[in-house]
Symmetry: C2
Subunit: 258 residues, 2 copies
Amino acid sequence: MIDSTANRQIKNLIQLQSRAKARREQGLFVAEGVRMYRETPPDLLEKTYVSESFYEKEQNRGLLKGDVEIVSDRVFAAISDTKTPQGILMLVRQRQAFVEDMLLAEEPLFLIIEDIQDPGNLGTIFRTAEAAGVDGIFLSEGTADIYNPKTVRSTMGAIYRMPFCYLPKLSLVPAMLRKRGVCTYAAHLGGEMEYTRPDYRKGCAFMIGNEGSGLSDELAGQADAYIKISMKGQTESLNAAVAAAILMFEAKRQRELP
Amino acid sequence: MIDSTANRQIKNLIQLQSRAKARREQGLFVAEGVRMYRETPPDLLEKTYVSESFYEKEQNRGLLKGDVEIVSDRVFAAISDTKTPQGILMLVRQRQAFVEDMLLAEEPLFLIIEDIQDPGNLGTIFRTAEAAGVDGIFLSEGTADIYNPKTVRSTMGAIYRMPFCYLPKLSLVPAMLRKRGVCTYAAHLGGEMEYTRPDYRKGCAFMIGNEGSGLSDELAGQADAYIKISMKGQTESLNAAVAAAILMFEAKRQRELP
């Protein structure tokens, strides 16, 4: 049992929880909780850590599918990102999709995410995207790190199932999509067409921009059409995850029309 | 200028920022930032506090509409709930709507919120509700405090414009609404009717339950119909603010159909 936060593995887990750079350099991240343990693909699972009191319960041991490292409750509290840790966390290998594979989907529904900053928003977008039947998500390099512990948590497991890819030149994506007949729609305050008007039953992609500044002109300029979600009252904008959800579920609604 | 956190006013502001009980007892709350200052109704504004460095800038002084109390930057940092304070915050009087007034709306769109716990979710629901044209929000007493600083912030000013009311017996609301011809829909995992099927152009209300446990049987039992937002993939549920947004904007979409 590991009983010291000076342990090399523990020190590294703490680093991975707090520093995007460490995660990027090692190609690893930390996922927490029983649910995430169940959903982590075996080929990505590097190592499982459980707290002493988690391991003491027989029903918990029954959940475990392989070797685990036991750590003291005090050490576990130090490596956990949550206030009330469940007592199980995993060291997991990062895996992004290949753009070429993502493009193989037929009549796909994609998201193109530029510089979303809030980790919770990003995770919620992944969770909602899975529910809406999205085929993949393209992300700018300036977007928050999907492997941030708060983001991982708010994906509710979608991080393992939703194909995604961070790209240095996100503005190249719309042209790639256009070649395959996929139409890109920029959610933009300057849009004149209500988001309910286009036909989303064919391949389509929604561009969602930064919470404060929206889409860059460079990326928005590549869109096939601008759309807006018109608003009542004095609201100036919607939360980015909410706006993305409204668009994705409008596409889903249209695609499921009889 | 106030330069001590031992000052009686400052100590009270810190209490109001951190304790729901103090806010409830005093009927006051704290709102922060230039935008909120602009949107605070004058009849609710008790007092405005600005930081020394905020007040030093002439353009900032130009924004001020009345007397302010100046506090040192160090003191301001202590009373602010944000990491990078803008330098202006207000002591504001709480004001709930009267249920009777809320019921006067014609063909209204309402939300009935039961025990939402996450302050950010609650604030986002208010913000989205204003944009969707919601006429009022009924909240259970077990719902998070709308006057929590994080919640106030995430309403983006909707807290001042959206009529709302906390009720000890939320389960009485559906019957009151029914008398006025307003149909209540419970968003429920047990729902069999897809949320896109009902006609929301007449008066209607959506019930949204707790993030983890959903609606109580007591409240859900009062609904006129159960609806579901069907999901793809392995998603088990949507974020509560996202689910509420999808329902509200479906109602808005239908109401704006030509």
